[in-house]
Symmetry: C2
Subunit: 399 residues, 2 copies
């Protein structure tokens, strides 16, 4: 008996269907996050991943870091001391960053990845009520302790999930949260609020006790044709309610090292260091932080940052030409894409990319606040981007 | 005018005196812990450290780890993915350890070093009153949140700071703490409670809500002439009040990687993972944990563990022959030493070892609960140990 194919249905072979089931289980076990590439290797060794576009990083920055790391640490044998000895304490590493960020060391907190800082900030500073825009990075609400009220501000699909600053101020005033979260550019849609607009938003929200501003993707945003880096760190001196969180995993392509920092009022940092966070860096992250502030590396890094932004813009333009999808506007190193083919689900599409093309992108079907079938796709190397565009076209040509 | 030398006073040249001042400032800035070797390099570049015996690790295990790491990660180019991609989540790594430790994965919590687990356990499980034996590792009381009562049980100098199990049960019963801390072997003195004695102590203390048993130095303890490894992990199934914490930094000589784990009841782990600790491992620690459970590595490791224990025993015997000091009994990879020369301070002695011989050992003058002038000294390679014995003799021969 020949089954009639339903609208939007993707054909999977028996083998692909088996992989799909396993992938579904892996995804479930990872909660609202995605299984890592190592988890895939352990649990789904039969799967070949060619492009990891679930992970949001600049591969050219990884190349650059590896070049320095190989020359200075591997070839010299210094790797031994990085592995063997205790890294420096939090405030010693903060001192290394201080001049570079143009803020006082006492205003810098070093984290084992931004995720540790998100956890610490949510646990230490949220008092009774936190306002979170959705869609968002789920840890912001998942890390909230029991007994605290979470108010969701659902960004409007009609406005392409962009934050309207004036509306937002009204939502804050109506709900009176003690803590609010702003991710700029936002994850998963990449929506970006310009530097000046963010500054005036902060001025209007000076009555909020804690404003968490997550700038983990800020190195990919741009406001002029030179793609100059945007730096908000010195705002913390003006806004004592501001906590800026910065992951290094995305812009520097080093998620495996776990490096992040935050800038905030000294009193907040003192509170956290008073009973914890002693040796939360590791030998590699300490090396990275020292490198990050060096002029030679900083100059090299800026070149690969700009190259990657330009290629990302090209990638997004090519994606926009593919029929059957809508590419949402943003200024991050990824795009949120809505699947417009009736009946085609995000999970099926992501699975097909994975098992048929070895491309790993993120389904957004676990993201609260999205209406429709969405995926999130990172920009990778120009070559990988072209492969992704081609594969997407191929998959969608069936409909 | 010739100044008369005071009893116990060490002669420092002007240059050495300047280094001493700087060292004192570094030490003060590190609180109750010691500045790292990287901090030394940054702040005191004029100082040459030949032997770091402040840091408590098996250097042969570092060699072994480096051998595997070089062959499998550096030479193959796999280092790139370890640096680039997100590590697996906590429970995925716990699964890797489960069979090896013979406990269920749901009872294993992975930490960014044991220190992160100490922080998490102290913050999550201590309710009102914690009983801590002193001298101890200071984080156990420093990480206690405001409002919680800390009761110190001062181990007796007359008993060489050894824990008397019967006395301890009485102290617990008299104070009724909800949480107690046992470090076995203890830091800084190395005092060891045998496996069976610990088991019966746990049986007597089943009414205590949380018993933290820190076994970070357990790989250096021995109870028979084959130096068999002691494993208590399966006790957590029998004692739901037990939380076993295990650093990997000491026995495997990899403090820079930040790897530790804890074994405890599933309900406790669920509580912690519910709102945090998502990606607290890094690429290197994930590799290490996978390696740790492999038979080939485990066999090689056990050889260097036994070699190191034997050399440590030799080192301690040689130290015991040096006049002017008392070596305290213990079964760790370090010894606590009391300086018996009248007027000779621990800080002066440690500084002299550092600036005159390049040997970095730990002054215990910031340890609460010790009566007298104490230092803590790690065992290193046989060659380094001999150099330390020779240098100690030389310094003490002046008195």
């Amino acid at each position: 008996m020949v089954m009639e194919k339903q609208q939007g249905q993707i054909d999977f072979t028996a083998e692909e269907q088996a992989l799909k089931e396993k992938f579904l289980n892996l995804k479930k076990a990872s909660g609202s996050h995605s299984p890592s590439i190592f988890t895939f290797k352990q649990k789904l060794p039969e799967l070949d991943i060619n492009v990891d576009a679930c992970f949001l990083s600049n591969p050219y920055a990884t190349d650059l870091f590896l070049k320095y790391f190989t020359e200075e640490i591997i070839s010299t044998g210094k790797i031994r001391e990085l592995l063997e000895f205790y890294p420096s304490q939090n405030q010693v590493i903060a001192e290394i960053l201080a001049d570079f960020l143009k803020v006082d060391a006492s205003q810098i907190f070093i984290g084992n990845g931004a995720i540790e800082i998100i956890q610490a900030v949510i646990h230490n500073f949220v008092e009774n009520k936190i306002l979170i825009n959705i869609p968002t990075f789920s840890s912001y609400y998942e890390f909230v302790k029991p007994g605290i009220e979470v108010v969701y501000n659902n960004l409007k699909k009609a406005n392409e999930y962009r934050l309207n600053v004036d509306d937002y101020v009204k939502v804050c005033e109506a709900n009176k949260p003690d803590t609010i979260v702003l991710i700029n550019p936002n994850n998963p849609d990449g929506g970006y609020i310009e530097h000046d607009a963010m500054h005036s938003l902060l001025e209007k929200l000076s009555w909020v006790k804690t404003i968490i501003l997550d700038e983990s993707f800020i190195h990919f945003a741009y406001e002029n044709d030179k793609f100059d880096q945007i730096n908000s760190a010195d705002w913390v001196s003006k806004f004592p309610n501001l906590v800026i969180i910065k992951s290094m995993s995305k812009d520097f392509g080093i998620a495996g090292i776990r490096a992040g920092y935050a800038v905030m009022a000294k009193s907040r940092i003192d509170l956290m260091l008073q009973n914890g966070f002693l040796w939360n860096s590791n030998g590699l992250s300490e090396y990275f932080f020292r490198l990050y502030t060096r002029e030679d590396f900083a100059n090299d890094y800026d070149k690969v940052r700009v190259r990657y932004i330009k290629e990302t813009i090209d990638f997004i333009e090519k994606l926009k030409e593919i029929p059957g999808i809508k590419v949402y506007p943003g200024k991050a190193n990824f795009v949120m894409i809505e699947l417009l083919v009736p009946g085609l689900t995000s999970f099926d599409f992501v699975t097909a990319l994975l098992v048929k093309h070895g491309i790993y992108v993120r389904t957004c079907n676990d993201k609260i606040g999205l209406e429709g079938e969405f995926i999130r796709m990172a920009s990778r190397t120009a070559e990988e981007n072209d492969f992704m565009v081609k594969s997407m076209k191929e998959l969608l040509s069936d409909f």
